[in-house]
Amino acid sequence: MSALFDLFSFAAIGAGVFFFFAGTVGLIRFPDSLTRLHALSKADNLGLGLIVLGLLPRADSALAAFKLVLIWALVLASGASTAQLIGRALRRGQK
């Protein structure tokens, strides 16, 4: 049973790392700041979500697991908000 959990953790965290990697590739390769924002906000949020998912079975208690989800939600909200704010500033700067 615990081996199964370990396998699940490993797979989810690995997938999360992959999305962080892909987001970083996008950050470097995409042509302008607006498209780079897409790469960061989407890929990194999914990456962090998968890492949190992979850590859930390893949490000490239900409360600790809930705390991990809370961290993900806070990062999600602040990341998505800042992406919109930067996008807005860039759009206004283009005019």
Partner: protein
């Protein structure tokens, strides 16, 4: 002077329960910390009532869960979408702004909807001007505006903004 809004006991109680649950999540359950937790939760309720007065949103659990499921699957697709475009031999992009009409009135509900939209595949709202959200899209050949309108419908259903 604007008369202070009547104190909404039900909303305050619900928020107190939420913030106290949050305290327990962060601090864990220790009997001696409970009074501090309750005080902190009460402070948080005061701040949240001050900054975000209870609105007329009615939560519909079934539609809300459906919305959450849609959101999670959409963020999965969004991540894959961006990863595919980033790792393609040549970055697969056709970026541009799309003006999407938005029916939600300005306020927390509209901001929350735009927050969710910013995690949808290939779209990033960059503010609202004149009743339209200016959405930056990674690929303007996609039906961005139609998808945006459909998502707004789902969102309105879940929060009773009809």
């Amino acid at each position: 002077m604007i008369p202070p809004a009547p104190f909404d006991t039900k909303a305050a109680a619900a928020r107190l329960a939420f913030f106290f649950a949050l305290w327990l999540t962060i601090a864990g359950w220790t009997a001696k910390d409970v009074p501090v937790g309750l005080a902190a939760a009460a402070g948080a309720v005061w701040i949240s009532l001050k900054f975000l007065p209870p609105g007329d949103a009615r939560f519909r659990p079934v539609q809300l869960i459906a919305l959450a499921a849609r959101f999670l699957s959409a963020s999965l697709i969004a991540g894959f979408d961006v990863a595919r475009r980033a790792l393609a031999k040549r970055p697969d992009l056709d970026p541009g702004f799309v003006s999407c009409p938005i029916g939600l009135p300005s306020g927390a509900a509209r901001d929350a909807f735009l927050l969710l939209q910013s995690l949808q595949p290939g779209t990033l709202p960059t503010g609202v001007e004149g009743g339209s959200a200016l959405v930056h899209a990674l690929d303007v050949s996609q039906p961005v505006a139609a998808a945006f309108a459909a998502e707004e419908g789902h969102f309105r259903k879940a929060f009773g903004h009809e």
